[in-house]
Symmetry: C2
Subunit: 146 residues, 2 copies
């Protein structure tokens, strides 16, 4: 620093100060969002597709579902879907695992349902394969009814 | 069948007929939905979290984004986000890959952004890790601005 004259030192100090301020401001953890805040978020995208796995299935329908602060989304019945998920404590296995008394054929014409996103702040990635659409009728619940 | 009398045979035929009809009706491929239909769907859930991978990051914010038939979702600016994705032909790498002239510190305080769901009928699962929030400022684009 001993080679720097007053003017240059002042300029350099200003630049460094600006950089330091910028870095501090921009490298700080991101702020809680307008849509985040006080409650744990539940934001999901749901799909129904033909095929026997998530990777190979052809998506037929998809819908978004937000459960906080109000139930909304492109899902046709977000309130009912959110209520069912809350009753299942966000466990999609409880939705798709409903045991049916329905009489179904045993044909293998599989349908894959998926759920991705966040349930009450925790990452969700769920996949379930139904043998055919008859088998899906009970397990789709209200959540995959779209 | 030779042991079955007329009345039982009629009853059995009715039951079998009903079962066959039920099976045929319920095992048929699912119908196009109200929200599906004529256009390829674009339904997404986006997240921003702290950490260096999708699996280990802590989700800080999440938002849904639907781009058809109208831009909507819990995303604060769905129209702008959908427009940017359309301009990028749904390639999230074009959004996060914007090269910045910004001066950032080199600290490793990673932020992971994810996108899951469907873009124009095709399954999407995208993950990108920014070194810190400064590095994220350009790459978040309008899509991850929530």
């Amino acid at each position: 620093m001993r080679y720097i004259t007053g003017g240059i030192a002042l300029g350099a100090a200003l630049v460094l100060g600006t950089l330091a301020t910028t870095a501090q401001a921009t490298a700080a953890p991101a702020q809680p969002s307008r849509s985040g805040g006080l409650y744990a978020q539940s934001e999901l995208v749901l799909t129904v597709g033909h095929g026997d796995s998530r990777a190979t299935s052809t998506i037929e329908r998809a819908a978004t579902l937000s459960c906080r602060p109000t139930a909304t989304g492109s899902h046709p019945a977000p309130r009912a879907a959110c209520a069912q998920l809350r009753a299942a404590s966000g466990d999609f296995g409880k939705v798709t695992g409903v045991v049916s008394n329905r009489v179904c054929t045993k044909e293998w014409n599989p349908i894959v349902v998926t759920a991705d996103g966040v349930w009450e702040g925790r990452r969700v990635s769920y996949t379930y394969t139904f043998a055919n659409s008859c088998a899906m009728n009970d397990g789709k619940g209200l959540v995959f009814e779209f």
